[in-house]
């Protein structure tokens, strides 16, 4: 940004901006620094991100720096900070620095290496799952809020239902019925077009009137779907789906994402509804700006702030969910370590080796807490009522 001297505007006799320059970012940064808890949350979040990234590189590959998979049965359940017994280990099984920073588990695996590996899982699960949820949320919430009041015709709903069902069947692997239904949908599409063409010539019957009945608005349709989704306790929904699908880290992410978009949808819808009536959106419509440009250029940038806040807090929830699934043995399959399955493995030795439960537990606690604190701080910062207007 260029800096303009105070005098310039006075010299030209023109109106100059009232407040001194402060970009939104800088203002946000200033407010964030004032909110100590949120700032601490951000710092922990960045640390966690760096550790997880480091963990990815240090624990993968053929000869990783920290190998989480080396089994040393002779060294099982060693407490944290104990030195490796170099005399009984073969050289390729000696841990880095000859030290078990967080101790070892019942198979003698280095808990520090396993925690590093698990950090990356937690991070990606959190971000990808929330990313999926936010994308779906913005899409459905946006449609619902912007076009919501338009009623759908009965034929459109029918066609949509048939096509969705056929798509679902194909995806679930019931290919034959899916394709048949898809063909039916195609035929229906042609049929409805034909009816419309004939009706435009003036042939209107009770049948066409039924077909074009303004049945239900898109908004009602989407929001009732949200209500239905919210009826299921999401953890059990996830359990069911995970039980059906092969366990893998990607499936976990997708499933968590697909079952946690409802909050965002409601958020975005509410934002869009209020933004739609704002004067600057009306002005854009009066200028003839296209609908998609109004949505993407005028509405989403203004609606995104509260979505980001809820997303930050959702990440914490997603991490917890993943840990919970792993703890129940339905998460990422072993031998890959996650914080949840370290915790789960450790619970059998909670009296002999408390660090096995304590370390992943505290790690989850700190990360989830930091995300929540940062999210709440972000909400305060972005709350327009807390910042001066002018």
């Amino acid at each position: 940004m260029k800096a303009y001297s105070e005098n310039y505007f006075q010299k030209t006799g023109m109106e100059r901006p009232l407040a001194p320059r402060e970009t939104r970012w800088r203002e946000g940064w200033r407010l964030l620094k004032r909110n100590r808890l949120a700032f601490a949350g951000l710092v922990i979040f960045i640390l966690f991100f760096l550790i997880a990234l480091a963990g990815l590189f240090l624990t993968s590959g053929t000869k990783p720096v920290f190998d989480p998979a080396v089994v040393r049965l002779e060294e099982k359940l060693r407490p944290p900070l104990s030195n490796a017994k170099l005399e009984i280990l073969s050289s390729d099984r000696v841990p880095r620095l000859g030290l078990y920073l967080f101790g070892t588990d019942e198979l003698g695996r280095d808990v520090f290496s396993r925690m590093l590996q698990g950090a990356w899982v937690s991070l990606t699960v959190g971000f990808v799952a929330v990313g999926i949820a936010v994308l779906i949320g913005i899409l459905l919430g946006g449609i619902s809020g912007y076009y919501g009041q338009n009623a759908m015709r009965a034929d459109q709903i029918f066609l949509g239902a048939v096509l969705l069902l056929s798509g679902g069947l194909v995806l679930m692997g019931i290919t034959f019925f899916g394709v048949v239904l898809l063909c039916v949908g195609g035929v229906l599409l042609v049929f409805f077009q034909w009816v419309k063409k004939r009706a435009s010539k003036g042939v209107e019957t009770a049948w066409t009137r039924f077909l074009w009945m303004r049945a239900i608005s898109i908004d009602t349709l989407i929001m009732r779907f949200v209500d239905i989704m919210l009826c299921f306790p999401s953890f059990f929904l996830i359990l069911t789906v995970v039980a059906l699908l092969p366990a893998s880290i990607y499936n976990i992410m997708i499933v968590i994402g697909l079952t946690s978009w409802m909050g965002t949808t409601r958020f975005v819808r509410a934002e869009f509804l209020s933004l739609r009536d704002q004067d600057f959106v009306t002005a854009a419509r009066a200028l003839g700006v296209s609908n998609w440009r109004i949505i993407f250029r005028h509405m989403i940038p203004n609606a995104i702030a509260p979505v980001l806040v809820s997303a930050t807090i959702s990440i914490a929830t997603a991490i917890l969910t993943e840990a919970g699934l792993s703890f129940l043995g339905l998460g990422v399959p072993p031998p890959h370590a996650t914080w949840g399955n370290i915790l789960s493995d450790g619970k059998n030795f909670i009296f002999d080796a408390p660090w096995l439960t304590f370390i992943p537990g505290v790690a989850i606690l700190i990360v989830v807490l930091s995300f929540n604190l940062f999210g709440e701080g972000l909400r305060d910062i972005l709350n327009p009522r807390l910042r001066e207007r002018s």
């Binding site: 109106e15 009232l18 001194p20 001066e388």
Partner: protein, 321 residues
């Protein structure tokens, strides 16, 4: 002297910036008098009455000096308990938004009676009778039936009448009204202004009326204080201010009022913008927009100049002419 504010200074502190909302403001309201504080947004008129009632949010606000004398007693020295006895009972306040100033979950009766019962030891039946009388006084038709209504069942004008009834509940010596008609339609505003005039005659109370509308001022005020950027620019009898304004700001304001007689001619206008209280100019706060500005205006804060008859103006340049 009923209410007298002397050299009041209120600053707002936020993010290392100091906004001088009130920069040495003095005004007074005598018994039975209607005093208008007129000024544009951010000139400090609302801050000054919040300070009188001690309901200024602190922080960020801070009272840096001055006195608020009410019948000779400095309200700034009182503790919260003593202040509570004055607030509502001897000094009452009416706000701009009747919609948000009434509690939506209580009936009109509950709210007016509460205003009475907080300050006086009377039984419910008497409070109820007073309540009906008050509603009658402020011109609400069939008050007995309205008692059980909730605020949302009333129109904007009626809500403002209820607010006035609440303010009058304990026979206050002075009523402070902060833009009470700004949110109302013109025909309703005329009704409320008439009501204020009637009530003042009947009850011999003082009225401190805050507005930005010069038409309202001309209609209701005995004396006027024109505020600009946290200082009093001009003060005097209403006829003096409107017929012989002595401050360039007052002159500019009056000349810039549009009406249909001026159609076709360019309207007089004051150039520039109202200053942000955090970045007020040096010297006279009005000098960047003033047509009569001279060198000293830019460096020296102007003193009040006396035109006699209580008419004072903070502009030595026009005084010397």
């Amino acid at each position: 002297m009923m209410l007298s504010i002397q050299d009041l200074k209120v600053y707002f502190f936020s993010d290392g910036r100091v906004a001088r909302a009130l920069d040495g403001v003095s005004y007074e309201a005598r018994k039975g008098e209607t005093v208008c504080l007129v000024g544009e947004s951010g000139c400090g008129k609302t801050v000054s009455v919040l300070t009188i009632l001690r309901i200024l949010p602190q922080p960020p606000g801070r009272i840096m000096g001055g006195k608020v004398l009410f019948n000779g007693q400095n309200l700034l020295d009182l503790n919260e308990e003593e202040m509570q006895k004055i607030r509502g009972r001897r000094i009452a306040m009416i706000f701009q938004e009747p919609m948000t100033s009434l509690n939506p979950v209580f009936t009109i009766e509950d709210q007016i009676e509460e205003a009475i019962l907080v300050h006086e030891k009377v039984d419910i039946e008497e409070a109820r009778q007073r309540c009906i009388q008050l509603l009658k006084d402020v011109g609400i038709p069939s008050p007995e039936e309205r008692l059980r209504d909730y605020p949302h069942q009333l129109s904007g004008g009626q809500r403002q009448r209820v607010m006035i009834a609440m303010a009058l509940a304990c026979n206050p010596e002075i009523v402070i009204a902060d833009e009470p008609t700004t949110a109302l339609d013109v025909t309703i505003q005329a009704q409320i202004l008439n009501l204020f005039r009637e009530l003042k005659q009947k009850r011999e109370m003082s009225l401190l009326y805050i507005t930005h509308d010069l038409g309202v001022v001309a209609n209701i005020a005995d004396r006027v204080y024109v505020m600009y950027a946290g200082v009093i620019a001009e003060q005097g009898e209403v006829a003096h201010i409107f017929h012989h304004p002595r401050h360039p700001y007052t002159q500019g304001l009056l000349a810039s009022l549009p009406n249909r007689v001026k159609r076709g001619k360019t309207l007089h206008s004051i150039p520039g913008t109202v200053p942000n209280p955090a970045y007020k100019p040096e010297g006279c706060p009005f000098h960047p927009r003033c047509p009569d500005v001279i060198g000293t205006c830019r460096v020296q804060f102007p003193e009040m100049c006396d035109y006699g008859g209580g008419h004072l103006s903070r502009c030595p340049v026009l005084y010397e002419r």
